[in-house]
Symmetry: C2
Subunit: 257 residues, 2 copies
């Protein structure tokens, strides 16, 4: 079983409010269909849908003021809209996608998924479908509500369902020795140990309410420890997502123990 993460930078235009990157989504949907390697779970980020709404209403910090419940719901609505676009495109590309709403099936305890009943996700997979989940605004037992990042959800799904491989698809080739946008001598690291995530992974310059690249790596580390192969690839380069799903040689960064 594989899990494909489609980062917010891949599925949305990060600088345009609630603008889906339909061109990217269509090409990637085609690559997934062509790879034809199932079982597969897809989890996507929020990009310019979920993040700005969650930030505006301070959802990640939990409830301070009762009026935030509207922002909490609006954050979820933004994610539903993005998920709807992605699932519609996947279905058209012949990928048997099925939308799963995290906030309808789970909640966090102090921002963390302590236990997750993955049985319904498993049922969709056994039927040959591709569950499509996302980072979401969810109920939280300590701070009333919270933001569950797609990355945390992936780590938990991976460990609960025993994923063989997780593919993180974003807008960069992987992890570099330095910020490649500022330093032309920066080199792509083909392998990075999760015990050594002090590497310069570049600061995310966009609105991200889920902890950016450092947060991503620490969640990915949990999945690596759980036994999954983890690879980071650039989804803007045609063919890389397809190659990664097929387990073929591909430019990217492998995370190791």
């Amino acid at each position: 079983m594989q899990i494909l993460k489609l980062g917010g930078s891949v599925v949305t235009h990060k600088d345009e409010y609630m603008s889906a990157h339909t061109e990217n989504i269509k090409r990637i949907a085609k690559e997934i269909a062509e790879a034809g390697s199932y079982p597969l779970i897809i989890v996507h980020g929020g990009g310019s849908f979920g993040h700005p709404v969650a930030k505006k209403h301070r959802i990640a910090e939990g409830m301070v003021d009762k009026s935030q419940i509207f922002g909490f719901s609006e954050t979820h609505q933004a994610m539903v809209k993005l998920n709807e676009i992605i699932v519609d495109i996947l279905l058209k590309a012949d990928v048997p996608a099925f939308a799963i709403s995290p906030s309808s099936m789970l909640y966090t305890n102090g921002k963390r998924l302590n236990e997750l009943d993955t049985s319904i996700v498993k049922e969709y997979i056994e039927l040959g479908m591709v569950p499509v989940l996302y980072g979401d605004a969810v109920l939280d037992s300590e701070q009333t509500f919270a933001i569950l990042s797609g990355d945390q959800l992936i780590a938990q799904l991976s460990n609960d369902l025993g994923a063989d491989r997780i593919i993180f698809a974003s807008d960069v080739d992987g992890i570099f020795t330095d910020n490649p946008k500022l330093n032309p001598d920066a080199k792509l690291l083909k392998k990075v140990s999760v015990g050594n995530i002090e590497a310069n992974v570049g600061d995310t310059t966009h609105t991200d309410v889920t902890g950016g690249m450092q947060g991503k790596l620490s969640e990915a580390a949990e999945a690596v420890k759980g036994g999954a192969d983890v690879i980071m690839v650039n989804a803007f380069e045609a063919g890389r997502v397809k190659a990664a799903i097929r387990g073929e040689k591909v430019i990217g960064t492998f995370l190791t123990l």
Copy 2:
């Protein structure tokens, strides 16, 4: 706690494929906000969104052919789209709505909800929110997938959460002695015993994959037996939904034991 059912004939133009009746939804959202009576759960039907898609792919009968999994997902997508429109309008009208996706949290056994973990719905209610659910395409343990009607969902939620009142809002005043569209002498019945649902309730002339009015009444009977007051009102008449939510005198049909 009250449950409001918004029938497919109320929230969609039944004769126009995937056309939301936004005018109706907006007025009803305003009535719900003005009534200001919480806790409240809203469940809506599929109308011209869910029903034609489910019918085309024969989802209600379960899986016969593997290719139906696309139609199964498309049925759910249609319902997500309608739900999104309704929740967006409710939020704008100041109703703290939150979208809950039935197929993400439950499945049926032989088309029936034998047990339903309502804890997450309860959490949203305790937070002062209004969960908005809907009839959905769901997994089924016997026939792979099935259509869960909003009415069956309501009966189960009512009995599990102990609803005081259920309001079924549709496009007719209630139950008549004869079909009022054909017989001008037909009279509205103010009270109908659920033990006597042989009354002429009129055949639904539209695509309905969930059993029409007879199906609705037999689900409602379960809720009445469970102790809830059940009233049927015409949501096309301004003020009736509001009056019903407030527990005021209103034209409609009360269901009794």
